[in-house]
């Protein structure tokens, strides 16, 4: 690992000022950065830890929904009753990251700010309509999660801007996340699909579908979502929804699987995820 200057600011303003410098990197949980620095794919001149800034971690009620601090460990999200009950897809996504030892370090903010199209929590945050709060030199702003990503490893964050928390609106009636993978644990997602549905009297009143690892950025399957609104679920509708989701993606072929396989699996897994989210909404 190359040498770097290490900072542990205690305020966001100070962290933001330090992070605005050239070749600066933020340290959240360290699970991506420390490994990247060892491999020398990351060679920052300064590393700014967020660990000493008070108030960046924790799950709290917020209006009718919840606020999840960016420094909240994904293990805490995975085991939180509030998240498991109200935002099931996110608990399921968090549980898919690495191992318990890694989830005890990794943070939600880090998982998202890294902007990997394959991040395990991102499909769920898309389906659950998360709002991302950001602090920077010019004050605070907030963007919907589907406007955060601009490319692999890239976001709308400007130099010095730091994600501070994720706000989720009141819980959907049901949600679910499926990760397509080979190993039971410690695997990268071939595909991640999350769905959240609102239901009233057996009718779907609204639906959101998040897809990870099927395009340069995580995406929503808007057309598929539109097909579900105002309907009750039938096999014919599910088939249409699966096809629409598959059409929304632009997958690549890589070591792990081909683009054709990914597209086919998006179809299959979207159907399964939506079906399960609807089933959960009805209990």
């Amino acid at each position: 690992m190359k040498s770097f200057e290490f900072f542990e600011p205690t305020t966001l303003a100070e962290a933001s000022r330090l992070f605005a410098a050239e070749h600066a990197q933020l340290l959240a949980g360290g699970t991506d950065l420390v490994i990247g620095m060892k491999a020398r794919t990351e060679t920052p001149q300064s590393v700014i830890s967020l660990q000493k800034i008070a108030g960046l971690a924790g799950i709290t009620r917020y209006g009718g929904g919840v606020s999840i601090g960016a420094m909240t460990k994904v293990r805490d999200i995975e085991v939180s009753d509030e998240i498991r009950n109200g935002y099931t897809a996110l608990a399921e996504g968090a549980a898919e990251i690495g191992s318990i030892q890694i989830r005890n370090l990794a943070t939600l903010g880090g998982n998202i700010a890294h902007a990997s199209p394959a991040a395990d929590t991102v499909a769920a945050l898309l389906a659950l309509d998360a709002q991302v709060d950001i602090a920077g030199a010019n004050g605070e702003r907030s963007v919907p999660i589907d406007a955060l990503f601009t490319g692999p490893g890239q976001t709308v964050l400007t130099p010095g801007e730091i994600i501070t928390r994720f706000r989720l609106p009141s819980p959907a009636s049901g949600s679910h996340y499926i990760k397509h993978k080979i190993r039971e644990v410690m695997d990268l997602a071939f595909i991640g699909v999350a769905a959240a549905v609102d239901m009233a009297d057996g009718t779907i009143t609204g639906a959101r579908i998040g897809l990870a690892a099927v395009a340069p950025t995580p995406i929503r399957a808007m057309e598929a979502e539109g097909l579900l609104a105002g309907k009750s679920l039938t096999d014919a509708l599910l088939a249409e929804v699966g096809e629409a989701a598959a059409a929304a993606c632009s997958p690549i072929s890589d070591l792990r699987c081909s683009a054709e396989h990914r597209r086919e699996m998006v179809d299959v897994l979207t159907r399964r995820t939506v079906q399960e989210a609807v089933a959960r909404a009805q209990v």
Partner: protein, 159 residues
């Protein structure tokens, strides 16, 4: 960068150290403190051999910068025995023969200890899944899980 003054609390002992920020907690434990029970396998977070407990949580110490562990309570495999008496999970690994070369053993023992502290009442399947971040290249895991299940019974019986 210059070394930073850091106080680490490892197995209840305080150490005043000067650490380079780029040193991982794993490197500090092994190279600076000579606590070589914690092993370096992959150094990329994939094998679990470097597992230690920090403030009650099992973590892969190869992913932690040593300077960020200041002020936290660190427990390594060397700190599990109390007054010369092995922790139930250590004894169980001996009783069942839950190791061959032994390289993965400290990581499994420390990870299991954290799981038992959190909730010993798990099925074998649940323990198997929860230990998914620990890799063993020798045993085939059968004896390891036997050991963990024995320790879980022991811990519940004495709880």
């Amino acid at each position: 960068m210059a070394k930073l003054p850091v106080t680490l609390t490892v197995n209840g002992d305080e150490y005043d150290l000067l650490i380079e920020p780029r040193k991982t907690l794993l490197a500090v434990l092994r190279d600076t403190l000579g606590l070589t029970g914690t092993k370096e396998g992959c150094s990329t977070g994939d094998c679990g051999a470097c597992t230690v407990i920090v403030d009650g949580r099992a973590v892969t110490s190869c992913m932690v910068l040593g300077v960020t562990a200041a002020g936290k309570a660190i427990t390594t495999v060397e700190g599990l025995a109390v007054d010369g008496e092995l922790h139930p999970v250590q004894q169980a690994f001996i009783d069942t023969g839950g190791y061959q070369c032994g390289f993965c053993t400290p990581g499994f023992i420390v990870a299991s200890k954290a799981l038992l502290d959190e909730n010993p009442n798990r099925t074998e399947e649940e323990f198997r899944h929860a230990l998914g971040g620990n890799i063993c290249r020798c045993t085939g895991y059968t004896k390891i899980l036997e050991a963990v299940m024995q320790a879980a019974e022991e811990v519940q019986a004495t709880a």
